[in-house]
């Protein structure tokens, strides 16, 4: 499943929904362009052309978890790793790199 759209079956299409991508028939002809807002006529036309499902734009992109949430989850995953334990530096390094990756801190200089 994508963050930005959802493949929605024909039965669940309603006027007002926005297409995330162009819809084509079996010959590759564009039926509806990306960004089109569906109305009753458009939905009926999709049904006639045998389209089973359409990529519908999500109203809001799935809320991305906040930094605190991400950090808390990483701390939970690494709950057996003690940051102060220098003997376990490899686990500690993996932990720091995953934090940099997840929190988009980039590579430390």
């Amino acid at each position: 499943m994508s963050d930005t759209y959802e493949m929605t079956p024909l039965a669940h299409l309603y006027p007002g929904m926005v297409l995330a991508d162009a819809l084509m028939d079996e010959y590759g002809h564009v039926l509806l362009a990306a960004g089109v807002t569906l109305n009753e006529a458009a939905i009926a036309s999709l049904a006639r052309h045998g389209v089973g499902a359409a990529p519908i734009l999500r109203k809001e992109p799935l809320a991305a978890p906040g930094e605190a949430e991400i950090q808390a989850r990483i701390d939970h995953l690494f709950r057996h790793n003690d940051r102060e334990d220098l003997g376990d530096w490899a686990t500690g390094l993996l932990r720091r790199y995953v934090e940099d990756y997840r929190l988009k801190r980039g590579v430390a200089p």
Partner: protein, 284 residues
């Protein structure tokens, strides 16, 4: 026998391996022949093609973005030409293995998370292997198979495994510890027994046997790759396990890979990209 609480012996375990699902004959051949060079690829392609489900899954894998084919392969023979025999052997094995254990025998065992972890470890091991110029196809298969012994334990002794999972929750320890405490052996022992029963190559058996102890003498580099790949997958939280626990990473194994932070972040990224697609194909 399965509700007993005594420690299991390897004999008991192996004695029951015959109750385990059998692999398609073509995969048995592939696993046994990993170091063998003189294989007739046309014969192999024909054998795979005689199992439509296996063929479809293999082709979808070959056409997945991880393998970056410009032209879609439509036959096994064609995919073999594009990707080479080695890669195809690994893909066929992956496609066959992921469907062959029954799910749901032990209610608390999360089959989906198990397979997601295995598939992600396979993807990460492959990415790592390319970085360190190790055979990526071996790495992929070893990553996929490293925990297979767990399925042996779950399938053979579902009630006892239920207790193992409860103990793990109670102690918040690694699963292998709980297995050892209640069954007297762990999934590594079971994996090695299965590897012998299924005639895996020595290379694969070594990787299964030593992935938790990569610094042991004679463990081999494949064990190092799988050890770190498994930990990376747990650290990236890719299996979808609420209680995921990153194990202690062997400093020897970490050092042996010798990657910079920049390289690691790229490995994380590449692994994440491939997992969803591969999981969708293999777990279909």
């Amino acid at each position: 026998m399965s509700d007993a609480t005594h420690a299991l012996s390897i004999e008991e375990l192996i004695g029951g391996v015959d109750d385990l699902p059998s692999l398609p004959a073509v995969v048995m051949e592939l696993l046994g022949s990993i170091e063998q060079e003189d294989i007739d690829t046309a014969v192999l392609a024909k054998k795979v093609a005689s199992d439509p489900a296996l063929m479809a899954k293999t082709l979808r894998l070959a056409n997945s973005s991880a393998y970056g084919l410009q032209v879609k392969a439509t036959t096994i023979q064609q995919a073999m030409t594009f990707l080479g025999y080695e890669a195809m052997r690994q893909l066929i094995t992956a496609a066959a293995l992921t469907g062959c254990f029954p799910a749901g025998r032990c209610p608390s065992f999360n089959d989906r998370a198990f397979w997601r972890h295995s598939i992600a470890t396979a993807a990460c091991a492959r990415v790592l292997a390319r970085r360190v110029r190790f055979n990526p196809d071996y790495a992929f298969t070893a990553g996929l198979l490293h925990g297979i012994g767990r399925l042996v334990l779950v399938t053979r002794f579902p009630e006892r495994y239920q207790a193992v999972l409860s103990l793990r929750d109670k102690r918040d320890c690694e699963l292998a510890e709980a297995e050892r405490a209640l069954m007297g052996l762990d999934h590594v022992d079971a994996g090695v027994a299965l590897a012998e029963h299924w005639h895996f190559s020595d290379t694969m058996r070594q990787a299964i046997a030593f992935y938790r102890l990569p610094e042991a003498p004679g463990a081999g580099f494949l064990a190092t790759i799988v050890h770190v790949a498994g930990a990376v997958v747990q650290a990236l939280d890719l299996a979808g396990n609420p209680d995921e626990l990153v194990p202690r990473v062997s400093a020897v194994a970490w050092t042996a890979l010798g990657l910079s932070e920049e390289a690691w972040l790229q490995v994380f990224h590449d692994t994440e990209l491939q997992v969803e697609e591969m999981a969708a194909i293999l777990m279909a």
